[in-house]
Symmetry: C2
Amino acid sequence: MEPVDKIIHAKWIITGESHEPLENHALVIKADKIAAILPEQDAAKKYSAAETEHFPAHAIIPGFINAHTHIAMNYFRGIADDLALMNWLNNHIWPAEKKWVNHEFVYDASLLAMAEMIRCGTTCFNDMYFFLPATAEAAEKAGIRANIGITVLDFPTQWAQNADEYLKRGMDFYTQYKNHSLITPTMAPGHPFTVSDPTFIRIQELAETHDMKINLHLHETADEVNESIKQYKKRPIKRLNDIGLISPRLIAIHMTQLNDEDFDILKEKKPSVVHCPESNMKLASGDCAVEKLKSYGIHVALGTDGAASNNDLDMIGEMRSAALLAKLSNRHPESLPAAKTLELATINGAKVLGLDHLIGSLKAGKAADFAAIHLDEIETQPLYHPISQIVYAASRQQVTDTWVAGKRLMKNRQLLTLDEKEILQKAKEWGGKIKA
Amino acid sequence: MEPVDKIIHAKWIITGESHEPLENHALVIKADKIAAILPEQDAAKKYSAAETEHFPAHAIIPGFINAHTHIAMNYFRGIADDLALMNWLNNHIWPAEKKWVNHEFVYDASLLAMAEMIRCGTTCFNDMYFFLPATAEAAEKAGIRANIGITVLDFPTQWAQNADEYLKRGMDFYTQYKNHSLITPTMAPGHPFTVSDPTFIRIQELAETHDMKINLHLHETADEVNESIKQYKKRPIKRLNDIGLISPRLIAIHMTQLNDEDFDILKEKKPSVVHCPESNMKLASGDCAVEKLKSYGIHVALGTDGAASNNDLDMIGEMRSAALLAKLSNRHPESLPAAKTLELATINGAKVLGLDHLIGSLKAGKAADFAAIHLDEIETQPLYHPISQIVYAASRQQVTDTWVAGKRLMKNRQLLTLDEKEILQKAKEWGGKIKA
């Protein structure tokens, strides 16, 4: 009998390694890793566990990977809706950020967002914002896995005055967190229109030296493309390709405006892509051609974007939106079926982040990052196919338990690392100040 | 002091009579009606209530009106996904219906659907299916308001063999329920391609004689339109207009395929329309031009369609999908703003059903059909605008209480008229049989 920490029996385990859920299997956990997944009658014979638990009406799934967030924007959720991107940014979001965003704001708002993410089964997110140490401190407190982007812009914000200062602060952050078990620094120039060519080249060099991914909002709107043509005589993808940025190191976010010229570059250079359907719909930006990109061997993940343009961090809702939108956009009901959609939110996220050796699916040796979804509810019975039920019928509130690296962050809807009451109280206090 | 039954104090009351939520007001209920809505300090001076209740962190909203359902199809939720409409109908849904649908099935499945609807704040639905008495019996048990369609087809099902029999059974149902306080019979020919001209004409005559609405799936798919052109040399709207069916009596459901010829007829004849965005996306049918139709003075309501093609009856989720899809389709982020979207799901539903004298908004004299949504949660804080928060951030599980005609159907998430455990048990038993 091999000693382990936990044996978790579940009605279904959806490993992400195959499209068929395993019925009545057990997930065996040792320290922060998955030791085995096996039929439940075999688990008791092979392992002795400090703790055994039963989830007889649940599906265990790989934790969701939210591949594009601005989590501290949770405090701006619903402050300005139903507006065009540049009006929304120029007249609402940027002024609010200028007035309010500081270390304390980012820390408090990040805890709110992490509570929301843990409550929907998200175990890893890929963030771009300011005051990165505040986000990292919050992530350490929450126990959630985080990719944190070193934001670099060529204009001043509360966080830094110019590219030099962004990079200085960012590389200090990198040095502090580069060996952290749960936190991975990345590079994060904002938009093509907020970063100059020389700055992009410096970012690319640093990313190569330190083997970091580069997150960039790219071809999000028609306006962005048109402005680039005016200023650079090139579409943004072409401009960035000419300076060497389009590569598997790049995580290109949104990508709703792609023509044949763009596809030719993408096909050859294979950057990763993050699809944010709800944000792209809400801001009327467009739709990302997920299946076409995938057919070129490009990894496509799913992200919610910030809560100010979504307005939630709900990966179950985001999967549903992605699946429904793909069918409508392609006028093909077989587009993005349920199992492929679940991949976008799990293993594809891991591939995009370069972390698929560690997370994104459930198998022996990978990190024990997973969630339990209760399916024995009015909204998900009768049940014919668990994956269909999760993608097309379940709600985020049916997620009952969330674990990251073998540590439980939520137990039967109760947060274990965060204080829900205190987080709500802080959110109301900040909201009151911001509203006034 | 005027004696009343209940005074309900709430942080916000969203009446639907204006776009500004009333803060710290009270809803006064007498028997099945709203007696008054007034500032809470005035309520205690003017009314003495048998029962007073406080919802200090909730918004009270008009109950949702789900304007297109096939509620008994809840038992087929998730049985076949990611398929084209005709494949889905011919090879999955119709064979399953032929094998399983009977009075008992419809009764049991309807209770499941009603539990789901009450749990998301829906107080009225507009159904089309078979074994209408079973749906009506279930609605009486649940205490929910129901419009129940007299299905008429020119092909045999378990329910009837031919148009004569559908009409005979339907008119018996009409006679039984025509004076019911919560149940309203309507006419419900299925699709243009399942009903002949002579049958449409008989339906129209009966509907006029008895002042019933006529529910019809119309211009749902491009195939439907093309088949009509082949068979009748006319698009379905033109064909139906030529025999007098296109009028304010008609509730035209889906309407995703409209050209200028169609719009000319619609503009003149003003039928009502039900938009079912999630079903239309899932089946890759198309998108309904909600705002263009509204600009012609046409009433447009919101429906989920059956759970087999959605896969839920969640009106909060449906509002979100409608709002996001409108912005993307129109490439305009100001399309279908939050308050207008809430109207689709409430007062517009009442107008489409011809029940806006009674339901759809909260004001003195109207029926006490309403729901409470708890907004003091991680997912909806901070809160700047309650309507935005409901449409763009809240989940159906935040609906805590639902009332129809002054009767409480759910109290703090506990169903009061239905037995949740028994409903779940029955759903599992039926699901097991159907799956085998």
